[in-house]
């Protein structure tokens, strides 16, 4: 190959094109609209099962974090029971966790805030390091008025919130992890899990959608667009259906 275009790099590009599934090869389109059966790529559905990313040591911490970001109340579950940690577990074990598709060439230089994040770490690496740093910070009792020797999950809710405020404001020293940036990511991920379609593991039983009145994956509101100031009456539905629709397991 000529002009400095290296074959190995191009093949990396080819591997990239495989994202999203089937038949990711260059093709010729001629004469008719391309169509082959079974080439669609439905979303992967999160199934119950063992943890894929979080370790037993990390789980109490991330579950407690999820419940402080979205606390349970009398009507709606909190982050943990809504499945936000299951969501995050599968996301971090998958393409999101490995920063698949993002630009990962160096050099990695910290620039102005307006130039965007420049970390060489993937989200999976960041979570691993941050959860360890949070645990260490708590066990060493480094926060003011914080007891020594306790894990984050064992702290009182007010102490946990204080820690979260410290992360949010970047005032907690996380030994090499950018606390503020991690908190922004954590907040976004937990809230994404709460509101995303339940096929991804969070928003269990569409609890977040019921809480706000979002009807979900319905696709046709033609009868409703001109009905003004009326509450939409139908319950939400997921891409994966709804409990009272789902046919018996065969």
């Amino acid at each position: 190959m000529s002009d400095g275009i290296r074959r190995r790099d191009v093949l990396t590009g080819a591997a990239l094109a495989l994202v999203g599934g089937a038949a990711a090869r260059a093709g010729v389109i001629k004469g008719e609209l391309p169509w082959r059966p079974d080439t669609a790529s439905p979303p992967p559905r999160v199934e119950p099962g063992p943890w894929q990313f979080f370790t037993p040591e990390e789980l109490p911490t991330i579950e407690a974090l999820a419940d402080r970001i979205i606390p349970p109340d009398s009507q709606t579950p909190g982050g943990k029971d809504a499945g936000c940690v299951v969501f995050l577990d599968r996301q971090l074990a998958g393409a999101y966790g490995s920063a698949e598709g993002l630009y990962e060439r160096g050099p990695f230089i910290q620039g102005a805030e307006q130039q965007g994040p420049q970390s060489s770490k993937t989200p999976a690496q960041t979570y691993r390091a941050a959860l360890q740093a949070i645990d260490q910070y708590c066990r060493e009792g480094r926060g003011s008025g914080m007891p020594r020797g306790k894990h984050f999950a064992e702290l009182a809710p007010e102490q946990q919130d204080e820690m979260l405020h410290g992360l949010e404001g970047g005032t907690v020293d996380m030994s090499g992890v950018d606390a503020k940036q991690f908190f922004t990511t954590l907040l976004k991920d937990i809230q994404d899990g709460f509101f995303a379609d339940p096929i991804y593991g969070g928003n269990r039983d569409m609890c977040a959608w019921k809480m706000i009145g979002f009807p979900g994956a319905r696709y046709d509101y033609r009868d409703w667009v001109s009905r003004h100031n009326e509450r939409y009456p139908l319950p939400p539905v997921s891409i994966g259906g709804r409990a009272d629709w789902t046919p018996r397991q065969r």
Partner: protein, 592 residues
């Protein structure tokens, strides 16, 4: 070794809106046309069928239909004194990827620019005097007029089945339309979409303040439509998953739903997907393109020879291909010389998020289409006297809310914590009774000497080619404009009865992580003088006459509207010049 394909009359780089339009026009003229597209073929049945198209995480948050930065990206800096750093994940704009281009996942807002937008420098200088413009503002006239483009706007609207209410029909101002628009030769092909509650209230409030609101021109269809090519679309179902998403209903105008079913069946057309053009080839004189070189997914390099090369990719990629092929003189902002990379612009967007009494207002924000909305145009372009305000430019504004998707659209009143019980409660209370237009104030961005594109000295793409470096910041003129427009916008929500508002002014410095629109413009602009433009008024390269560069890359500055209508009108305008003039006598259509 590059393998050589049989010669074609025309090779097209990129099969989005402009590539599809040009390919269809030129195959109609009997030419053999090959299109090379970097991304995959896309269709509703396989990529976004209605049983899973409505997936906010997959398409909106994880960007499934877009280019991946690992394929290629840009570097960015605000000022020339800074080091450009790579955009590692998309933020301020979202480059498309695949057949149909941005036409797959746009909102389908289908606007025309104002007649004065095309003669901007002349008009503003005549009205306010040259000294009213900032010294470093590099705005120019386009070299083409609204009157010349009108038939081509019309063709695109009838291709798409655009829904709207005419405001100026052959000079007659019509009630309910945009009274500021340029005269149109005929009405829109379809009536406006019906408007949801908050959009309707916005229009009522605007009327009480003396404005003349009108429905946003929409490429989401209000009824079944068969276009002049015989391709059919179905009525929009207001699903609330439009921009960032493909349409599972065949109700959003896109190359797939308007042109490709006809184009692909033509014997004189062929397209290649997942093939990336790496350069335009020139003969030894450097004045004639001989075709393009591209790479397929196996790493095989190919040469497609052609008599005519049409570059129809996304704005920055058009400019990059010219730079990497050494076509035209690169822009040097210090010497103020050269044209490739010059007059690069984006947009000046802001929003006002408003909170209403939940006991009195149920907006059902999830019922919406991509181009739904009621707008006013009183503060666009030069529709108002800028004299007292000390800035130029403007934009349309409106309640153009497209969705109630809960990851993106669960606004909370200012002062609410970002997490915890209070946040959760505020989300619950306000979801159905808040308005969040998104791109509520759609302001122009004019061009400046120090906002431009060049090649990055450090960062490379996967082929080892330099990334394009963006140098961009907001200037005082745009910030003043935004402040004025955002305040006017908020007054309308106040009149609607909002009890609390969050005025989200656009602020400097320009932030590459903060989404505005994907309307990047300029860098290979059209004009009347080869010293200040890369292309003549037909979008033909001044340097290489058998090369045309079609897209928003040709805009000398950005107006206060979504660009697709104008991009498509330019594509038809250029196609007509090629068909009626260039083919008869290949060579420069304008002599400099």
């Amino acid at each position: 070794m590059a393998r050589r394909l049989p010669r074609k009359d025309v090779v097209i780089v990129g099969l989005g809106w402009t590539g599809s339009i040009l390919a269809n026009e030129l195959t109609d003229a009997g030419l053999e046309v090959a299109a090379i597209e970097r991304g995959p073929w896309r269709a509703a049945a396989t990529d976004y069928p209605p049983n899973w198209a409505q997936d906010e995480l997959r398409y909106r948050i994880r960007h499934e239909l877009f280019l991946q930065p690992a394929q290629t990206t840009f570097t960015f800096r605000n000022k020339m004194s800074q080091t450009g750093l790579p955009i590692r994940n998309w933020g301020a704009f979202m480059p498309p990827n695949g057949v149909g281009g941005g036409g797959v996942h746009w909102n389908a807002e289908t606007w025309r620019f104002l007649p004065t937008d095309f003669v901007l420098r002349t008009h503003l200088t005549q009205r306010y005097g040259a000294r009213f413009l900032p010294a470093d503002m590099t705005i120019q006239d386009w070299g083409v007029t609204y009157a010349e483009l009108e038939p081509h706007y019309d063709r695109f609207e009838y291709l798409c089945g655009t829904c709207g209410q005419a405001g100026n029909l052959q000079g007659q101002i019509l009630e309910g339309g945009n009274p500021f628009e340029g005269p149109r030769s005929r009405a829109y092909p379809n009536p406006p979409q019906p408007q949801p509650f908050s959009h309707t209230l916005f229009a009522q409030a605007a009327r009480t303040l003396g404005y003349r609101p009108f429905p946003q021109p929409s490429g989401n269809l209000s009824r079944e439509y068969r276009n002049p090519l015989g391709v059919r679309q179905g009525p929009c179902s207001y699903c609330g998953f439009c921009e960032w998403f493909g349409c599972g209903n065949y109700s959003k105008a896109s190359p797939q739903t308007t042109i490709l079913p006809v184009l692909v069946r033509k014997a004189n057309f062929v397209a290649r997907d997942r093939c990336e053009v790496t350069r335009i080839n020139l003969d030894p004189s450097g004045r004639r393109a001989t075709g393009v070189t591209f790479v397929d997914t196996s790493g095989q390099e190919w040469e497609q020879p052609a008599d005519l090369v049409l570059v129809c990719a996304y704005t920055i990629f058009n400019v990059q291909l010219l730079m990497l092929s050494n076509i035209g003189q690169r822009y040097d902002p210090v010497a103020n010389r050269g044209v490739i990379g010059r007059n690069f612009t984006h947009q000046t967007i802001s929003d006002v998020v408003s909170f209403f009494d939940p006991k009195k207002f149920i907006f059902n924000p999830f019922i919406a289409s991509g181009a739904i909305g009621m707008c006013i145009d009183e503060f666009n372009g030069d529709n108002f006297d800028h004299g007292p305000h000390g800035f130029v430019g403007g934009g349309y504004m409106g309640q153009v809310q497209t969705n109630g998707r809960p990851i993106e659209t669960t606004p909370v009143p200012p002062g609410t914590p970002k997490w915890g019980a209070k946040w959760k409660q505020a989300v619950k209370e306000n979801y159905l009774s808040a308005t969040k237009p998104g791109t509520g104030v759609h302001g122009s961005m004019y061009s400046y000497r120090d906002v431009y594109l060049d090649l990055d000295p450090t960062y490379k793409d996967r082929f080892g080619r330099p990334l394009v470096r963006i140098t961009m910041d907001f200037h005082d003129n745009e910030l003043k404009q935004n402040r004025f427009l955002t305040d006017r916008f908020a007054e309308i929500f106040q009149a609607m009865g909002a009890r609390q508002m969050d005025k989200q002014y656009r602020r400097a410095p320009y932030d590459i992580g903060d989404y505005q629109t994907t309307h990047l413009c300029g860098g290979a602009i059209m004009g009347t003088d080869p010293k200040t433009s890369a292309l003549n008024r037909y979008l033909q390269s001044w340097d290489v006459p058998n090369l045309f560069v079609i897209g928003a890359s040709a805009f000398p500055q950005n107006a206060g509207y979504n660009p697709t209508g104008t991009v498509a009108a330019l594509a038809y305008w250029s196609a007509e010049a090629i068909r009626t003039r260039y083919l008869k006598s290949p060579g420069p259509l304008v002599h400099a």
